[in-house]
C-alpha cells in the first residue's frame, strides 16, 4: 500500500534542482493570507458572483449530463435492446461510439467549443455535459446489464409491454446506484466548473487565476474559503440525503468499476424511481466514489438473513431514521425490514419538482442559450492540412512524458495518502487537519496548484506531476480517512491491546485489510489522472497536454486533431489497463 510512495525518492531528489530563488517569501505570503482573507465588500461581492456562476455551471452541466447520460445509458444497454426488440448490436455500437466523448477531458471540450462557438455560458455547461453524459451512460448501462433479469423475464412472460416491464423490474434495483453515482458526479461537476473557469470559461476559477497571477493572495483566499464552504456544504448535504433515502454509502474503496467490485454491503430495497425520465436529476444522494456493483448489492439484499462477510473496507450505512438499527454489517438488512417504503419515492419526486424549476430559473438567470452551440463561428481556413507538420511533432517524447507524468502523479497521490495518515496517526489533532488539507487539495484546481508551485519551482514535468498529484491526493485521502472512520478493525484493536504502537497497529491491523481495494481504487484514479494530464499542460514541457494547448492557441487544427486522437487512444488504453489492474486486485484471493 505504501509502495507507490517510492516515487517520492526521485522527486525529492530532483526538487532542489528545480527550486529557483525568491519563491519562498511569496509562498509564505500566500500561506499567511489564508488567515486574513480580504473582506472588502467589492472583493467578496465579485467572489460571490463568480461562485454563483460556477455553481450554476456545475448544476446545469450536471443536470444535462444526467438527462443525456440516462438516455444514452438506455440506448447502450444490451438488456434494454434485447428486451425491447431482441437485438443486441445497437447497444454495442452506441457503447463504442460513446468511448470517444468519454475519453476527452472536459477541459478539452471546453476549449474546443470555445474556439468553435465563442464565449457563451452554454459552452462551459456543454463542456461538462458531454464527457459526463458519456461517462454516466457507460456506468449506468453496465449496472443495468449486470442486474439479474429473472423478474424482468417473469413480467415479460405475463404479457407486460417492454417499457413498463423494464421500468418496474430494473428501475428500483438500479435506483440506489444511480443516485449515489449521480451525487458523486455533482461533486465532480463543481470541481470541473472551477477548473473550466481557470481556463477562462467564466466563474470563480477565472477570478482565482487572476488573483494568483497578480499575487493578490488576500483576495484569492476570499474566493477559496467561499468555494471550500460551498463544497463542504454540498458534500454534507449529499451525505444527508443519501442517509435519508437509505442509499448505499460511499463505495469508492469497494471498487470503482461495475462488475469488478464486491461491496459487502446490502442495499435497502429502494422504492420508486423519482420518475421514469430522469432519476439522476431528481435526487442527488451521496457519492459512491466508484460504482457499486448492483448485482452483488441485490443478491445480498435478497438474502437479508445472511449477513455476509464483514468487509472492513466497505462502510456499512447506518440509517438515521430513528430506527432501532445496529451499526454492524447486518444493519442494512434490519433497515430493509423496518424502513417505510413510499415516503422516499414521494420525496424524490418532490426533490425533482423543486430542482427542475430551479434549474430552469438558473438557466434563465445565466442567459444560457443552448442554440448558441449550433451557430458555429467560421472556422479558420483549414487549407491543406500539413501532415508533415503533424508528423514532425516529437510523438514519442510527448507520449512518454504524458505517461511519466501520470505515473509520478499517481505514485504521489496513492502513496502519500496512507503515509500521511500513518505518520499523523498518534496525534489527536491530526484528523481535522488532514480533513482540511484534503478538502483544500480537492477543491484547488490542479492548474492553480501548478501556478502556485511555479512561484517556487521551475516549470517542468515534476512540477506538473506535483500539482496533479496534490489534487488527487485530496480525493484519495478523504476516501481513506472515511474508510478508516467508518469501520471498526478488530485486528487493530487487538494489536493496540497488545501494546503495539498506534502507527504499527494501524499499519498491520487496518491497512492490510484495506490495501487491495485501496490500490484498486488507486488504479482507477491513475486512469483519471492520465485524462487530467491535459489540465496541467500549461506548466509547460509536460507531454501531450501542453502541446495540445499550444496547438489550440496557434489554431493548428491539423495538429490539434491528431493530438486529440492520440490522447483519446491513450486514455482508452489506460482505461483498459486500469480495469485489468482493478480486476486483478479485487479478484478473490
Amino acid at each position: 500500500m505504501l509502495a507507490p510512495a517510492v516515487v517520492l525518492i526521485p522527486v525529492v531528489a530532483l526538487l532542489p534542482d528545480l527550486v529557483h530563488g525568491g519563491g519562498f517569501e511569496l509562498l509564505a505570503d500566500f500561506a499567511q493570507a489564508a488567515f486574513s482573507p480580504s473582506l472588502d465588500p467589492l472583493v467578496v461581492g465579485s467572489a460571490l458572483s463568480g461562485l454563483g456562476l460556477t455553481v450554476g455551471i456545475a448544476l446545469l452541466g450536471w443536470a444535462s449530463s444526467g438527462v443525456l447520460g440516462l438516455g444514452l445509458a438506455l440506448a447502450s444497454s444490451r438488456q434494454v435492446w434485447t428486451t425491447s426488440c431482441a437485438l443486441r448490436w445497437p447497444a454495442d455500437l452506441v457503447r463504442r461510439l460513446l468511448a470517444l466523448p468519454r475519453s476527452i477531458h472536459e477541459l478539452l471540450w471546453g476549449l474546443l467549443l470555445l474556439q468553435v462557438v465563442g464565449l457563451q455560458p452554454a459552452v462551459a455547461i456543454a463542456a461538462i455535459a458531454i464527457p459526463y453524459g458519456a461517462l454516466v451512460a457507460r456506468v449506468l448501462s453496465d449496472q443495468l446489464d449486470a442486474l439479474p433479469d429473472g423478474a424482468l423475464a417473469a413480467l415479460r412472460a405475463s404479457g407486460v409491454p417492454a417499457p413498463q416491464a423494464l421500468l418496474t423490474a430494473l428501475g428500483p434495483p438500479l435506483l440506489p446506484g444511480l443516485l449515489s453515482y449521480g451525487g458523486y458526479r455533482l461533486e465532480c461537476a463543481l470541481r470541473s466548473a472551477t477548473l473550466l473557469g481557470v481556463f477562462g470559461l467564466g466563474g470563480l476559477g477565472t477570478e482565482l487565476k487572476l488573483c494568483l497571477q497578480s499575487l493578490q493572495f488576500h483576495e484569492l483566499w476570499t474566493g477559496l474559503w467561499l468555494l471550500l464552504a460551498v463544497m463542504l456544504l454540498l458534500e454534507t448535504s449529499l451525505a444527508g440525503l443519501r442517509r435519508r433515502w437509505l442509499m448505499p454509502r460511499r463505495l469508492g474503496l469497494a471498487g470503482p468499476s461495475p462488475g469488478s467490485a464486491s461491496p459487502g454491503l446490502a442495499t435497502a430495497p429502494a422504492q420508486a424511481p423519482g420518475s421514469g425520465r430522469s432519476p439522476a436529476q431528481s435526487a442527488p444522494a451521496d457519492a459512491g466514489l466508484g460504482d457499486a456493483d448492483p448485482a452483488r448489492l441485490r443478491s445480498q439484499a435478497s438474502r437479508p438473513a445472511q449477513p455476509g462477510l464483514p468487509n472492513p473496507l466497505v462502510p456499512v450505512a447506518v440509517p438515521n431514521d430513528g430506527l432501532d438499527v445496529d451499526a454492524g454489517p447486518g444493519g442494512w438488512a434490519l433497515a430493509a425490514k423496518t424502513a417505510t417504503l413510499g415516503r422516499r419515492g414521494r420525496e424524490m419526486v418532490l426533490a425533482l419538482g423543486v430542482l427542475a424549476p430551479l434549474l430552469v430559473w438558473l438557466a434563465r438567470a445565466m442567459a444560457v442559450n443552448p442554440l448558441a452551440l449550433l451557430s458555429w463561428q467560421p472556422l479558420p481556413n483549414l487549407g491543406g492540412a500539413s501532415w508533415a507538420s503533424v508528423l514532425a511533432l516529437p510523438w514519442p517524447q510527448l507520449v512518454g512524458a504524458t505517461l511519466l507524468l501520470t505515473l509520478i502523479a499517481a505514485g504521489l497521490a496513492v502513496g502519500l495518502a496512507p503515509l500521511l495518515l500513518l505518520l499523523t496517526a498518534p496525534w489527536p489533532w491530526a484528523r481535522p487537519l488532514l480533513q482540511l488539507v484534503w478538502a483544500l487539495a480537492r477543491l484547488w484546481p490542479p492548474p492553480l496548484s501548478a501556478l502556485l508551485l511555479l512561484l517556487l519551482l521551475k516549470p517542468g514535468l515534476v512540477t506538473a506531476a506535483l500539482a496533479l498529484g496534490f489534487h488527487n491526493l485530496g480525493i484519495l485521502g478523504r476516501l481513506l480517512l472515511e474508510a478508516r472512520d467508518d469501520n471498526q478493525a478488530p485486528a487493530e484493536a487487538a494489536l493496540l491491546g497488545a501494546g503495539v504502537g498506534p502507527r504499527l497497529a494501524l499499519f498491520y491491523g487496518r491497512f492490510s485489510s484495506l490495501a487491495r481495494s485501496y490500490l484498486a481504487y488507486g488504479a482507477y484514479r491513475a486512469d483519471v489522472m492520465l485524462r487530467e494530464t491535459v489540465v496541467v499542460g500549461l506548466v509547460g514541457a509536460a507531454g501531450l497536454g501542453s502541446q495540445l494547448l499550444e496547438s489550440l492557441s496557434a489554431f493548428a487544427w491539423d495538429q490539434l486533431l491528431a493530438l486529440m486522437v492520440v490522447y483519446a487512444l491513450l486514455t482508452l488504453l489506460g482505461e483498459d489497463l486500469s480495469d485489468r489492474a482493478r480486476r486483478q486486485l479485487l479478484a478473490p484471493p
Binding site: 417473469a154 428500483p172 425490514k337
Partner: protein, 268 residues
Amino acid sequence: MPPAPAREPAASVSSLARPLADLSWLELRQITVPGRARPRLDRVSLAIGCGERVALLGASGAGKSSLLAVANGQLVPASGSLRWLGSPPARPGPARRRQQARIGTLWQDLRLIEELSVQQNLNSARLAVWGWPRALLNLLWPLESDANRDALAQVDLGAELLGQPVAALSGGQRQRVAIARLLRQDPELLLADEPLASLDPRLASEVLQLLLDQATPRRALLLSLHRPDLLVGFDRAIGLRQGQVLFDQPASAVGPADLEALYGGEPP
C-alpha cells in the same frame, strides 16, 4: 364464479363456439426441443382442459422444466405446435402479450422484485393491462389496495404486509406473495415449475393446497412435482421420462409400477 363441473368449460368463458377438441386450455402437439446428448423434449403431445389440475412427474432432467418453458412461451420448440386457449401463439406484439397475460407462471425462484413492497409486487401482475401512467404511479403510490388485500387474504396473509418490502419477508411469506401475485394476474392457465422444491414438508403441503384451490372451473393448472406422494388432489398425472411422455392418466390411477417405470434406472 358460478359453480360448474370440473371438466365442463362454462359457456360464458369462451365467447366463440369452438369444436370441443379445441377447448383445451393448453395443447402441445409433437413438441421437440433439441438438447446436447438427447432431445430435452421428444415429440411430446398433451392437452389440458380448463378446470383440470394436472401434475407433471419425472426425475430431474426428464424435461419437466423444458415442457413448462414451452408452455409459457419462454422456450420456442424446434418443431411441433402449441396452442393456448385454443389459438396458436401470435407473433410478438400486442396480440401475443394479450395471450401471455392469460398465462400465469409461478417461478421456482419466485422472481419477485426485491426492492419493491408487497403491494407494488402484487400490482406488477396488472402491468400487462395497465398503461404507462399507472405503471409509473405504482412505484410511488399504493394502488388498488382493496384488491391486493383480498389477494393476500386468499393466501392467508394479513393486509399489514402490503407496505413491507419483499426482501423483508420470510420464505413462506414470499411463496404466498408470489401466489397472490398470480391471483392478481387472474390467469386462465396456471403453470408452476417445482413450486415445492425448496420448501419444508409442512409448508409444501400448505402451498400445494393453496395452488390446488386456485383451479376454478375456468382455470387449468399444470404443476411439475418431484414428489409423487403429493399427487392427492390432482385430477391427472403426466409422467415424463427422458423427454418423452411415459404415461398420462388420472392421478388416482398412478400406481407403484408407473413410478418405478418413471424413476427406476434413472441416474440420480
